[in-house]
Amino acid sequence: MKPALYIHIPFCAQKCAYCDFASWAGREPVWEAYFHALKEEMRPWMEISGGKFYSVFVGGGTPSLVPAERIAEILRGVSAGEVTLEANPGTLTPEKLEIYRQAGVNRLSMGVQSFDDGLLKTLGRIHTARQAEEAFFMAREAGFDNLNLDLMYALPGQTQEAWEGTLEQAAALGPEHISAYSLILEEGTPMAAWATPQPDEDVNRMQRTATAFLKEKGYARYEISNYARPGRECRHNLVYWRRGDYIGVGCAAHSLYQGRRFANPDSLGAYLAGARRTEDAILTEEDVLEERLMLGLRTAEGVPRGWIRENAQTRRMVREGLAVFEKDRFFLTEKGMEVQDAVVLALLQ
């Protein structure tokens, strides 16, 4: 199977209050150099794969911030069954969308996060709920029939009702895919300095609400944070959980390829200076066993039954409704997914 390709675009109009990923605002002067470096980094992979990948994901940062021509340029010669571009609703125009389509992008992932303007402001987003809707329709207009909306819950001050409202508006737009992430207050972010995490009980409730509501609207939870209409699961996303090979290019991009995990530096300066693969590890057998469970049990399909020992502990997991043994699979239930870390830890003992 061909590897998947991830292309990281670390530029944003403004840094969101919760974000601690590799992304920067105000770096326009280095855009040119960055895209040049990206192209160079991709060259050997293009030769190996002949430009054909299992899936492509252009993520960020905000890939839709930079001129669409740069995206088209980087995707020249690249082909895949699924080519996703991450877009901030505040940056899309019909013109950009047209260029993306022609460059082979067939899926857009839109960072909506919330349909509550107050919360959007709190998050430090550059768009309003209204703009998100407009961008959505703009994308449909441009012919995109595979759209994802990213949503966030457990936000500071977010009520159960506000979250339900966001879910309803998202579903009303009828995207093919919805990602719902629980906010994690990462150390060092502006938000972590003032926000208090929502109580576990409330977070669980929001998560359950999402699952139940989206199920009713025809979206199945195929991974802890991801919901899709049948057949619209994100291929690229599944590569991560199934431990398929993927190549990451760009600053801070991670790869899993032929039994190695490697990554480029998190520092934009270092990347521009030519540093590549500053992390590189050959996975041990133990690593692989761990990863298989840690990643595989995030998905609804779970893992092959043969990977799991049937013993007092796993039988108890089943008895207490955390997991299911079914024909040739072992997977977690909704309840099990809530404590996935602990389940994995227990299985690894």
């Binding site: 991830y6 602990a342 830890l345």
Partner: protein, 602 residues
């Protein structure tokens, strides 16, 4: 200075904790020129960091001071510093037996305390000349006249000319020295008699091996002598003999009747030197050893385990090193289902136990898990066999037990009157039996109780302090064994007994203890994948029950752009955390869980 028995004075200083014993000792050293002031760190004799910090003396020490008295004559004063805690009562008694006099230090504002009395009684037992000294007269709260009266009334000592001292300010120090010269009798003892030297302490020196601190009662001890320890029967050749100066040995080649000093004889194991034993010559031995020798018996036991099983060998080495200087510490390997490989350690008392634990952690940088302390119970089996049990796990099945006995102590509490009610209630709760009560100076009361030792070591002292806002003082001595209704209480986690949490408890106290431990465990055991029932049980009967609810949510870190490193790190962290926990069946227990049995709020 030439040997002249009539000019030797051997004395110790006795005091309640914090009454200024060590500071006074420092001043005496300074005044006699043994140490210059600039050389002095605070409390020279308390050389262990822990001793200075806790303000207690753990090891006995001796030091020789030359002193030219006001009469113009040169004297040799030997100060023997004694441990200041009830745990070390036997060591104190041996140190007292090496002296002819005792300086009794009483705090000018606190007056007589429980340990003051205990020390005085012990000194009287040894026929010591007791010289009262009222210390800390510089404090605004000092009331030296009242305290003097108290000493006269309660102890019956003449305080008319007793030195009024501030060891801290250096006031009255010479008066103390003069008192010692004039009132402490010179030692007696014939240098021509067969050798009898009393061992009052021992310590380990890397170069000399185990060293005995001795008081020569009769005869002369010389380098090259072949000696025999009369109680242990072991024989050695003396390699070095001399007197003791602060922090160093002064080899003199001999010690004569009446003198205090040290003996080295290439002794590898400190267990061969028993405190209280008598040294004599192999040729021309003494007929009788000196009186008062008792083998040291640990009173309190607990399991000590390395928090990380890989540190087992380091723990053993650390215990061996500590035992080099502390023959009263005993340990032997034991295993626990819950805690793995560790040691059953025996101590003289609770303070001794705490000190050892603290030294292991501090000086050897070990992370420890300790089980609740236990006393030594006597089990009389139906077949007549008598067992001594210091670990609840080793208790025979109930059907094999005819009855059990537990150690009781004589407990003395001195307290301001207003707390008498609170203390009586506490002693009653702790199964104490009231013996008598006496009013003493300063509106205070002396209470005597018979108490089971297992209640005393549990949390009696903490409780006493909190109920009397720290004003009560406490002392105890072992009285004997008493038949008692004792039961073994097990703690079950998820239906399985956790051996390290079992305790032996009086049946009337079992319900309360069981409930309290279950509650404590519930607080310290983190939520896990499944609900964990916690039960306290006697035999098959459940007497208390709590539940740790199942985990409800954990952090589901987002895996962005295929970067799984955060998730991996989190998993590693959790794996580490779990490794530090002990697993009992399917339950993970943090180290604190094993201390849950220790403390209880009443």
């Amino acid at each position: 200075m030439a040997y002249d028995q009539s000019r030797i004075r051997n004395f110790c200083i006795i005091a309640h904790i914090d009454h200024g014993k060590s500071t006074l000792a420092d001043r005496l050293l300074e005044k006699t020129g043994v140490l210059q002031q600039r050389e002095m760190t605070e409390q020279v004799l308390d050389s262990m960091e822990l001793e200075r910090e806790r303000g207690i003396t753990i090891k006995s020490k001796a030091v020789r001071m030359p002193y030219r008295a006001r009469d113009g004559v040169d004297y040799e004063l030997n100060l023997i510093d004694t441990p200041g805690h009830v745990d070390f009562a036997y060591e104190v008694s041996r140190a007292l037996a090496a002296c002819e006099g005792a300086v009794l230090v009483v705090d000018a504002s606190q007056g007589i305390e429980a340990q003051t009395l205990a020390n005085v009684y012990m000194a009287l037992d040894h026929d010591l000349e007791i010289l009262p000294v009222v210390n800390k007269i510089d404090l605004p709260s000092a009331r030296p006249e009242v305290v003097k009266q108290e000493i006269e009334d309660e102890i019956g000592l003449d305080t008319e000319n007793c030195p009024l001292v501030s060891a801290k300010q250096g006031i009255g120090i010479e008066d103390v020295l003069e008192d010692i010269v004039q009132k402490v009798p010179a030692p007696k003892g014939d240098t021509q008699s067969p050798l009898r030297a009393l061992i009052f302490d021992s310590l380990y020196d890397n170069y000399r091996g185990a060293i005995s601190y001795v008081r020569v009662k009769e005869g002369v001890l010389r380098v090259g002598d072949r000696i025999r320890m009369m109680a242990s029967g072991r024989e050695f050749d003396v390699t070095e003999v001399g007197t003791l100066l602060p922090g160093r040995y002064n080899a003199t080649g001999e010690l004569r009747a009446g003198e205090v000093g040290y003996v080295a004889a290439s002794i590898k194991d400190i267990a061969d030197i028993r405190v209280g034993d008598t040294i004599t010559h192999v040729e021309r031995p003494a007929q009788e050893p000196l009186p008062g020798y008792k083998p040291v018996l640990p009173m309190v036991f607990c399991g000590i385990y390395p928090a990380d099983g890989a540190d087992y060998d380091s723990l053993r080495e650390a215990l061996e090193k500590l035992r080099l200087n502390d023959a009263s510490l005993s340990f032997e390997p034991e295993t626990s289902q819950a805690l793995g490989y560790g040691f059953r350690c025996g101590f003289l008392g609770l303070l001794h136990m705490e000190i050892i634990q603290e030294r292991l952690e501090r000086e050897f940088d070990l992370d420890l898990v300790t089980t609740a302390p236990s006393v030594v119970y006597r089990v009389i089996k139906t077949d007549g066999e008598i067992l001594e049990i210091d670990n609840p796990t080793n208790l025979p099945p109930t059907n094999d037990i005819e009855y059990m006995e537990e150690p009781f102590v004589d407990a003395q509490v001195i307290t301001p009157q207003e707390y008498v009610g609170a203390i009586m209630e506490l002693c009653q709760n702790k199964r104490g039996t009231f013996r008598d009560m006496k009013y003493i100076e300063g509106g205070r009361v002396l209470l005597n109780y018979d108490m089971p030792l297992n209640e005393v070591i549990f949390d009696f002292f903490d409780n006493l302090k909190s109920r009397t806002r720290g004003y009560a003082s406490f002392d105890y001595s072992l009285k004997g064994y008493v038949r008692s209704e004792l039961v073994k209480m097990d703690m079950l986690l998820n239906g399985e007994i956790c051996d390290a949490l079992s305790i032996i408890v009086h049946k009337d106290r079992a319900y309360a203890r069981g409930r309290s431990i279950a509650e404590k465990l519930k607080d310290v055991i983190p939520r896990q994948l499944f609900e964990i029932p916690i039960q306290a049980a006697i035999g098959g009967k459940i007497i208390a029950r709590e539940t740790v609810k199942a985990l409800r949510k954990d952090v589901l870190a987002k895996c962005y752009g295929g970067d799984i490193s955060r998730k991996k790190k989190l998993l590693e962290k959790q794996k580490e955390g779990k490794k530090r926990m002990r697993s009992v069946g399917s339950v993970s227990l943090p180290s604190e869980a094993f201390m849950a049995v220790l403390k209880m709020d009443d």
